[in-house]
């Protein structure tokens, strides 16, 4: 096996989603009504900024899906930490401490997911379905069922389209996504931990047989994913400037869809960070293009639903050919 071959194989696994993204971009930029605006830097910047929350959550979700699990509580977790950041600021905590509180909440929710899944031996779908309700409920409880207003701080500049030191070019949130994506790709592909995550998802029994602490691996993965949701919660607060307990309702499905469009397999063992990011952008640009075209919301929903099915079907075909 030549290493060249190997790299080529790696690239082609993300090629499908990549072609999909190019197609989406090409179709909208050819639409006469919006062709002059769609590929403008300003529009791209705004789409990417809007994608930060989904992208962050999807990074963690990729790990979970690679282990063969799923996290339905991601969006509720995001809302809970968003609310907690606002709540903490109102308590008079310094912004960085408020952000830490949001992050820690996310991590804690993720840890409980992992803990319950491995201890109770209940499938992730059910545990996280329960947690989805619990986290959302907790968020509404903390916020007394309304939005929490909070004074503006530097936290609210994380998602600005015009970052303060001009050389940043894009918002700190986008930089965060870029840096963390690279780190997560390395973690998944180049480290022993990443190898263990893949092994657990590919065949948990084999992984155990090979001396991998499969339960511990899963708890770490769910905690990691929770931390990403917490981070996304901070970003959401930054964007909204309020703590909204009803924010991101239904977003967990977008997150899962992004991972799956990017080549993740719900039966585990497969998925890549690059693919996931491409999946995120396919959906964001589709939404954006549809909106610019003035197409109604229901039309977007139908298209995105169809895209998910087509993407996964194509992925299956690719596999059966191998």
């Amino acid at each position: 096996m030549k290493p060249k071959n190997f790299i080529w194989k790696r690239l082609t696994t993300s090629l499908g989603p990549f072609i999909g993204l190019i197609l989406v971009l090409a179709i909208f930029s050819l639409m006469p009504e919006i062709s002059d605006r769609f590929l403008r830097l300003a529009n791209i910047k705004s789409v990417v900024t809007q994608s930060v929350m989904v992208a962050l959550c999807a990074l963690g979700m990729t790990f979970i899906i690679v282990t063969g699990g799923i996290d339905l509580s991601a969006a509720s977790n995001l809302a809970l930490s968003c609310v907690l950041v606002a709540f903490s600021i109102n308590l008079g905590l310094p912004p960085w401490l408020a952000a830490m509180a949001g992050l820690a909440t996310g991590g804690l929710v993720g840890f409980f997911n992992g803990f319950l899944i491995t201890r109770l031996k209940v499938v992730p779908f059910i545990v996280t379905l329960g947690m989805m309700g619990m986290a959302r409920g907790a968020a509404k409880w903390v916020a007394k069922n309304q939005k929490i207003d909070a004074p503006l701080t530097w936290l609210n500049e994380l998602m600005t389209r015009n970052p303060r030191p001009g050389w940043l070019l894009v918002s700190p949130g986008i930089w965060l996504v870029i840096i963390l994506s690279v780190l997560m790709a390395i973690l998944l592909r180049k480290t022993v931990f990443g190898r263990q995550v893949q092994a657990v998802g590919s065949n948990e029994l084999t992984a155990r047989l090979c001396g991998i602490r499969t339960d511990r691996t899963k708890v770490i993965v769910y905690t990691l994913s929770g931390l990403f949701c917490g981070l996304a919660g901070i970003m959401e607060f930054s964007r909204l400037t309020v703590g909204d307990p009803t924010v991101a309702t239904g977003l967990e499905l977008d997150i899962i869809a992004a991972v799956v469009i990017g080549g993740g397999s719900l039966s585990g063992g497969e998925g890549s960070i690059l693919g996931t990011l491409i999946g995120v952008f396919i959906m964001s640009f589709l939404r954006n293009g549809c909106t610019m075209m003035g197409w109604p919301n229901y039309f977007q929903e139908i298209i995105i639903g169809a895209i998910i099915i087509v993407a996964v079907t194509l992925d299956r075909l690719r596999h059966s050919q191998n």
Partner: protein, 507 residues
């Protein structure tokens, strides 16, 4: 000669996958009331031929005739309707459904879509009675049946459909000796009714017992055929592997030394009784017993796969309680699972990953892993064990059974285990791979390692082991040097739980 009408006739069947000619001009015929065995190594083309017969694959060339008429099934269902049923190695039953529901699936006696349960049950009882298994209740869930009983249900399903030809693919690989002889009786009954059976198996002794004629495939071609009664097992093996196998059980000289592993009163939650056993370095210890006698459970407890409730293991002078495979591996134990498909290997991962997964230390630094070094090491093992694979990056599911088993075994060698626990190390693999695995076991013993292996195949237990232990209903009933056992005495001990000790056989 009565009832010897030609039932199935294949002439010059060919099949290629890409550039690979998998089947090359295969001729085959089957007569009423006859059992014909298809023999061959893994990858010789047996499975492909079966799939063509069943309708799962279409041949690229050649003609098939069923009872004189052209037979070209478009799918397995079509094949089934035309009277040809396949009973696969992994049973194809829905575990949540009852025996009745499974048997009648797709052919329920009904009226306007409503199932006529009474008629169904009648029909099934009749068939089960014919199969000499009236004790199987049609209303029990399949998940509650033993492997042997499930086999009977599969056959019943084929009979209810009035299949004239039954194809059995390794039907006994998950059966105990008792269930196997039931199966053979059923086959005899089917024969007497004029049905024909195509029997695919690696167990040549079984084939001799049950088949009338045989065809040997090698590299996609017919390498020999004839009457089984006129052919010896040695001749069969020669045809299968294409060369004379000098010795099926190559003995690598080795001398047992000091005790390396000793377990006292080891009991896991899944074991019914505590077991004490010791093995010496440079020794191969075979474990015999019926399926379900607690042999697998013992090995799993020793490796820390099942929760251990009591007992102590002393390995190289240090004692420990097996709680998790991670620790066992560190202590120097290696475990080969009996179920390489669902537990032993991560089929969708690469050969390299599977081989190195239990021992990544040499390739890690600061948590990072060097894929290049890992692949180099794997390539070395591929060569040493002559594993047939395109590259070390190949996914394991592509490999043949024998090569998969070698990958699983290579993992233990790679992790530098001192004591090798192997559960059915040669199940479902071809003769040549078997012989290679025996040789590896011998070499390990020569290197002062210890091997404990569980097998249901008596000749290999006797041919490879230095000492033999027998389990019966969860209990270890005897451990003796292999030379003191015979196939008969082993079988007797495994079945009855009693040994010939009283006869003064103990030396």
């Amino acid at each position: 000669m009565t009832g010897k009408n030609q039932l199935l006739e294949l002439s010059s069947i060919s099949k290629r996958f890409g550039h690979n000619l998998v089947l090359n001009n295969i001729d085959f015929d089957l007569r009423e009331g006859e059992v014909e065995a298809i023999l061959g190594e893994n990858g010789a083309g047996k499975s492909t031929l079966i799939k063509i017969l069943s309708g799962a694959y279409q041949p690229d060339g050649g003609v098939m005739k069923l009872a004189g008429e052209a037979y070209c099934p478009s799918s397995p269902v079509d094949g089934l309707h035309q009277g040809l049923a396949v009973i696969y190695q992994e049973l194809n039953l829905a575990p949540h459904l009852t025996v009745e529901e499974n048997i009648m699936l797709g052919q329920e006696v009904n009226r306007y879509g409503l199932v006529n349960k009474k008629k169904n049950l009648e029909k099934i009882r009749e068939v089960l009675k014919f199969l000499h298994h009236p004790e199987i209740s049609p209303e029990v869930r399949v998940s509650q049946l033993s492997a042997g009983a499930r086999q009977v249900v599969e056959i019943a399903r084929a009979l209810v459909r009035q299949s004239r030809i039954l194809i059995m693919d390794e039907p006994t690989s998950s059966l105990s000796g008792e269930d196997t002889s039931y199966l053979f009786e059923i086959i005899k009954k089917l024969k007497s009714q004029g049905a024909a059976v195509i029997y695919v198996s690696h167990f040549l002794e079984e084939v001799r017992q049950v088949a009338d004629r045989f065809v040997v495939l090698r590299d996609g071609q017919v390498a020999g055929r004839g009457k089984i009664s006129e052919t010896s097992i040695d001749q069969l093996i020669e045809m299968i592997i294409g060369q004379r196998l000098n010795e099926l059980y190559p003995r690598v000289p080795h001398q047992p030394g000091q005790t390396i592993l000793e377990c006292t009163g080891l009991k896991s939650r899944k074991m019914t009784q505590p077991v004490s056993l010791e093995v010496r370095e440079g020794e191969i210890l075979g474990i015999a017993g019926l399926v379900g006698a607690g042999r697998t459970e013992f090995l799993r407890a020793l490796f820390g796969l099942d929760r251990v409730e009591g007992g102590l293991v002393v390995l190289k002078g240090q004692s420990f309680r097996p709680v998790h495979p991670e620790l066992s591996i560190k202590w120097g134990l290696g475990f080969l699972s009996e179920d390489r498909q669902s537990e032993g290997l991560a089929l969708r991962m690469s050969l390299t990953d599977n081989l190195t997964l239990s021992y990544l230390q040499p390739y890690r630094s600061h948590g990072f892993i060097s894929g290049r070094k890992q692949r180099q090491a794997a390539a070395g093992w591929v060569e040493r064990l002559s594993i047939r694979a395109q590259s070390p990056a190949e996914k394991v599911w592509i490999l043949s059974g024998g090569n998969q088993q070698k990958v699983a075994l290579a993992r233990l060698l790679h992790q530098e285990a001192a004591v090798f626990l192997m559960d059915e190390p040669t199940r479902g693999i071809d003769v040549k791979s078997k012989s290679q695995i025996y040789e590896i076991m011998g070499r390990l013993a020569a290197e002062k390692k210890a091997v404990i292996f569980v097998s249901s195949y008596l000749p290999e237990l006797l041919g490879v082991s230095d000492r033999l232990a027998v389990f019966h209903r969860g209990q270890l009933i005897a451990v003796r040097p292999a030379v003191d056992w015979t196939e008969t005495s082993l079988m007797k001990a495994a079945v009855t739980g009693k040994t010939d000790e009283d006869n003064g056989k103990e030396g």
